[in-house]
């Protein structure tokens, strides 16, 4: 009994993409555990989030703080976002989206979160998307699953994420990070 409990815990921490020969399980084998995805507004306090994320992902503390800060900005603004704690990844959970994602998709998004953090750290900023245009480097980039879209447009993305109310409230959509040519931080690199 204790042994089977141990195996179940161990299995839930294994990354399926790291298991050699990742072919579909043979008949009779237990299916791979489904990745854990929870509503974004069900996240615990910051201290619990940091402890749990550190224990399950072994991500650097600065990455975990950056992810938490970004999530905290989005939490109060959307009820259509969920979070995969073991993969540091946001998942759109609105109507029509699948409730589950394959482990390798979540692993890809987790790698993207981690790679963004590494690049941002190298470039001395918090987010590779905001670059040095942001007044704060406390917010990290987070991998994002959006799902199906009718059109690949900003409006469709915001609708899917439950964030289109921003537009009704007068927010404006613009291109990605503005040119850094006028940024006062650039002399740092000259």
């Amino acid at each position: 009994m204790a042994c089977s409990n141990y195996l179940s815990v161990l299995q839930s921490h294994l990354n399926p993409t790291m298991i050699p020969g990742g072919s579909p399980p043979s008949p009779g084998m237990a299916p791979a555990p489904k990745p854990h995805i929870i509503p974004l507004n069900a996240l615990n306090s910051k201290s619990e989030f940091i402890v749990q994320t550190s224990a399950t992902t072994h991500a650097p503390p600065a990455l975990i703080h950056g992810v938490w800060n970004t999530l905290s900005v989005l939490t109060s603004r959307s009820t259509s976002l969920s979070y995969a704690p073991t993969h540091c990844t946001l998942v759109a959970s609105g109507d029509g989206n699948k409730a589950e994602l394959a482990s390798h998709t979540l692993s890809f998004l987790e790698e993207t979160t981690r790679a963004s953090f590494e690049v941002a750290s190298t470039l001395l900023c918090g987010s590779v998307l905001a670059g040095k245009t942001s007044e704060s480097d406390e917010y990290g980039d987070v991998g994002l699953w959006i799902g199906d879209l009718k059109h690949g447009t900003a409006t469709d993305v915001l609708k899917r994420l439950g964030l289109d109310s921003w537009l009704k409230q007068g927010a404006k959509v613009g291109p990605g990070s503005p040119s850094l040519c006028t940024s006062s931080v650039l002399p740092l690199y000259n």
């Binding site: 900005v73 699948k98 993207t112 190298t122 987010s127 590779v128 917010y139 994002l144 959006i146 291109p175």
Partner: protein, 93 residues
């Protein structure tokens, strides 16, 4: 003769900063290549930002379609990407 520009999968902010780094370290090159490789799994990537939000927040998105052909995401074809947060200097005005 200059070779044609190859579109970079890296976010605009990164490619802009790169242009100002005269001698990037080997470590930063490794990280950039890793991110670039990951983002090359996104087909037809596009970036946008949402600004004018309370608190001076600017939300940045980089999105693209996860392609079965490129990444083998057969079970989960759809759009994916990154979301980031910046804070506008207007907050202090």
């Amino acid at each position: 003769m200059s070779s044609p520009a190859v579109p970079s999968p890296l976010p605009a902010a990164v490619t802009s900063i790169q242009g100002y780094v005269s001698s990037p370290s080997e470590t930063s090159q490794i990280h950039l290549e890793a991110l670039s490789q990951l983002l090359s799994n996104l087909e037809s990537p596009f970036e946008f930002r949402v600004e004018g939000l309370s608190g001076g927040y600017v939300i940045y998105f980089l999105c693209g379609q996860l392609s079965h052909a490129r990444g083998g995401f057969a079970q989960d074809e759809g759009y994916a990407g990154l979301v980031g947060v910046g804070v506008s200097a207007d907050l202090d005005e």
